[in-house]
Amino acid sequence: MLQSMIAGEQLLETLRERTGCPAISFSTFRDNYRILVPREYIYVVLQCLKEGFGFNMLVDITAVDYLYYPDARHRFCVVYCLLNTQTGQRLIVKTFLDEPDLNLPSAFSLWKAADWLEREVYDMFGIIFEGHPDLRRILLPESFADFPLRKDYPLRGRGERHDFPAISRAES
């Protein structure tokens, strides 16, 4: 564990050096290594992690809505889970977003896996990934107007689930 921590600090120093961003921070929780990155630097950090540290697999992209969360300073957090398939090392990269500017650069040019993952985050949270080749809804119908995993969206929806024409027996 101690050795991993040192490796983490070294990784952080190298990242700060290569990306020119001093505000990157590092933390651990159990066996997770987490890097917090300012949103302006997220693409260069991901690029550096892929090309310089061998994180050649994007496992997941997801997001968190911290609305009504105690002591939260930002509304949204976008989370990237990376994996180095040579060493088996995993890394979590986080960045925070606030309304009204919910734009992030797309990671599609680094990992093709980002295609559907970013579409899912857009579908559920309304975060826009600039440079994504086809940013459409992936799970919900195209006609859906809201972003249902946001905390200000009611659990039972706003009536979308019953907004369909009914077919009676006489007309079918």
């Binding site: 009611p154 659990l155 039972r156 706003r158 689930r161 369909f164 024409p165 009914a166």
Partner: protein, 212 residues
Amino acid sequence: MALGLPENVFIANLDKLANWVRANSLWPMPFATACCGIELMAVGASRYDIARFGAEVMRFSPRQCDLMIVAGRIVMKMLPVLQRIWLQMPEPKWCISMGACASSGGVFDTYAVVQGIDRFIPVDLYIPGCPPRPEQLIQAVLDLQEKIRRTGTLTGREFQQRTQLQTPQLLTAPPSDLIVAPGDYRTATQRWPADDKSSSVSSSRWPLPQVN
């Protein structure tokens, strides 16, 4: 014979003849979207064997079916598909809503899950259960056969009278007001007369904690 019919000629109601044929030769369309579909498969297989009641030939083309068995929850993206398949089935046709999810949404009271398919397509028979036992589905098929025998007509006149959906009234209160806060499930989900001692519901039968 008063009519003077020759031998081997019978007089029967043509409706009853058609109903007899239709009831004993149902062709189910398995619209299985969830775990109820597993029970549906069990009913079709040898142990429960719905072939004993003439409904064993499951076809996956709606053009070849006359009984739609909706087994599982229907989400809003699947509902237009369900309606289209229902419209593609030839007359006469019937619909069984199998299980709690198809009938009412079940535990999935969320933004995307339709709270009962009877809001959007006509349903002839509901099966409770989560999922229902295979015997319940067999009983439902028997009940549907009984319904066909009693109400069916050769030309399907009985369908023309069903111009309105027999569906629960749509909720008029805004959704946010309907959320029940977590707490004591006995007071949160049911109304018991707390003060009225002469009520038919005895409070000794259902001992409740005192709620201020």
